[in-house]
Symmetry: C2
Subunit: 341 residues, 2 copies
């Protein structure tokens, strides 16, 4: 690995954050089967693909999961033959800053962490390798690295990073269509991928500096963890806060690696649709697709529709309305329906 | 039965025409299961409902079917306990004029035939009884009676009959929306229901007068029939022509009974949709409905859609595009697909 050969003592950890359910992918995604564990698009789940993708960069894997999904992660890791990983089991969701802090506490200060979500899809290849290797180089020099993906369309579903080469100028929330188009045309913006790379010690120092309470409560909870399984009461003391807000938007050690790999957060059926459309996935002349059914299906008089079939629920969705799926999920949750279990 | 008590020698036959497949109701409707034999909307099929509806007006039932569906009719009739019916089995479809002629040949000239399609839905009740009884009265006086249904909306899927009381002024093809609205507002038009009533002898005389070749070839084919089963070669000699074109639009014995019963030809999913909407059928706030699946189904971002589920095929259809279903059927037929069998 270029740039790290002279740092023999240093370990590189892949930290995989595997939290949510993916309610915007209901009915595919369920509480018992969050989207990152589904074999939706390949022989491997998104979780498995994320593990495999980073195996050759990292010496060890840390999975930050929770009590509801850690058996799914373990099942996947057995399938992949991964044995010496550390499973951190959260007692309650506290967002990404505490989750990453737990991984950093588990590592030595000089260890480099490559932090990735479990539920994104990324095309492996030279562009990915180049981005990771460059991030490791920067992290070795005590930078906190975020990965920005070069935008290919005026996407309104992602946050953006304004940058000048490897320097971050600003983080931007999800834009409206017009702003997204400006961002795209200016070529000064990258999609915020939610992937990071830094030394464990550097991250914790910055966290202590900018969000001391989050740091302290996370540390206290970590000390009470048994076999990396967090305890509920001390976990509830930790403010729930994202790593972007806690550290990335504040630290002056931040760097961005502008990556050129194909990437999607698969955060909604629109993202899934766009991904599938770019593959050899069947799509009719009016842009309609079927997910989850092998049954002969015809669409008449509708366009850009997604028909999602599962054993106990169907969804017929206009692509542009993909964000509204979470409302259905919410409604079912309020009704305590077993259709989300 | 009012008006016929003084005609003791006369029999009344219900002639049920059970031809087509109902390709515009694919995938519900198949070659092996034409729509009139499906229990779509009740405990009985449309065929069975048509038989039941007319039992108390008629002394006997004549079913004009074909070699592909007569076993389905017989099955239905066993279910209803009907035993002494006559099954006429056509060798090849020749449209409605020859089909009715066969039934008329099977009857005595003075017998009154109530001719109905097998695949319409009609609300039974006083309005229906009144219409049938009036038609029988008129037919007893040698009229050829057609039933016109009072329109309730500017339907473009039906033919219309312009009338002045019981006199027919003209038959009109399916109108465009604008014309349909004119027809509706003028109150001078009725929907052409495809139901008729006349004496067998009167019908055949008019047929001989206006379409002598059709009459002659039908008669020759009927003479060669064995046990009311038509022979292929002689059947192929008969011109394929509708009863409207052959007799109704030409005869000066024509009368129309303006009927006030709820009626639908169930000719397309739009008609099915409208029928179901007027029942207590589940429909979401955007006018979407599910047919054929008990599975929990949600629609997002689409309106007036019909999701039709069967064991081997699904259809997702915008209500307004219902007429296009026949194109899918045609396409599958061209491909010799077993999805229409």
């Amino acid at each position: 690995m270029a740039g790290i050969d002279n740092k023999a003592k240093m370990s590189i950890f892949h930290v995989i954050l595997t939290g949510g359910v993916g309610s915007r992918l209901w009915p595919l995604s369920r509480k018992s089967r969050p989207k990152q564990y589904l074999n939706l698009f390949a022989d491997f789940s998104l979780f498995e693909l994320a593990v495999k993708r980073n195996q050759r960069f990292a010496n060890k894997l840390i999975v930050v999961g929770n009590k509801d999904n850690h058996h799914l992660s373990e099942e996947s890791l057995r399938k992949l033959g991964v044995e010496d990983n550390l499973n951190i089991i959260e007692a309650t969701p506290r967002n990404t800053a505490p989750a990453i802090a737990f991984a950093a506490f588990a590592a030595d200060p000089e260890d480099i962490l490559i932090v990735t979500p479990a539920d994104h899809i990324i095309k492996e290849g030279a562009a990915y390798d180049k981005a990771i290797n460059r991030a490791i180089e920067l992290a070795s020099d005590d930078a906190i690295v975020t990965f920005g993906v070069k935008p290919t369309k005026p996407e309104t579903g992602y946050g953006y990073i304004e940058h000048d080469l490897e320097n971050v100028i600003s983080f931007r929330e999800k834009p409206n269509r017009e702003t997204a188009l400006e961002f795209l045309n200016s070529k000064k913006f990258l999609w915020n991928s939610g992937m990071f790379c830094f030394k464990a010690g550097v991250f914790l120092e910055e966290m202590q500096k900018y969000v001391p309470e989050v740091f302290q409560k996370s540390q206290e909870a970590w000390k009470k963890a048994q076999n990396a399984e967090l305890e509920f009461e001390s976990s509830m003391e930790i403010p729930s806060i994202s790593v972007d807000y806690a550290v990335m938007e504040k630290s002056d050690k931040i760097k961005v690696v502008a990556a050129d790999f194909e990437w999607s957060d698969m955060g909604s059926f629109e993202a899934v649709y766009d991904y599938l459309r770019d593959q050899d996935y069947p799509i009719d002349q009016n842009g309609n697709i079927v997910i989850g059914s092998q049954k002969f299906t015809k669409f008449i008089g509708v366009e850009n529709c997604i028909f999602v079939a599962t054993n106990d629920a169907n969804l017929i969705l206009k692509r542009e309305s993909s964000q509204d799926v979470k409302n259905i999920y919410q409604e079912l949750e309020n009704q305590k329906s077993n259709l989300i279990d």
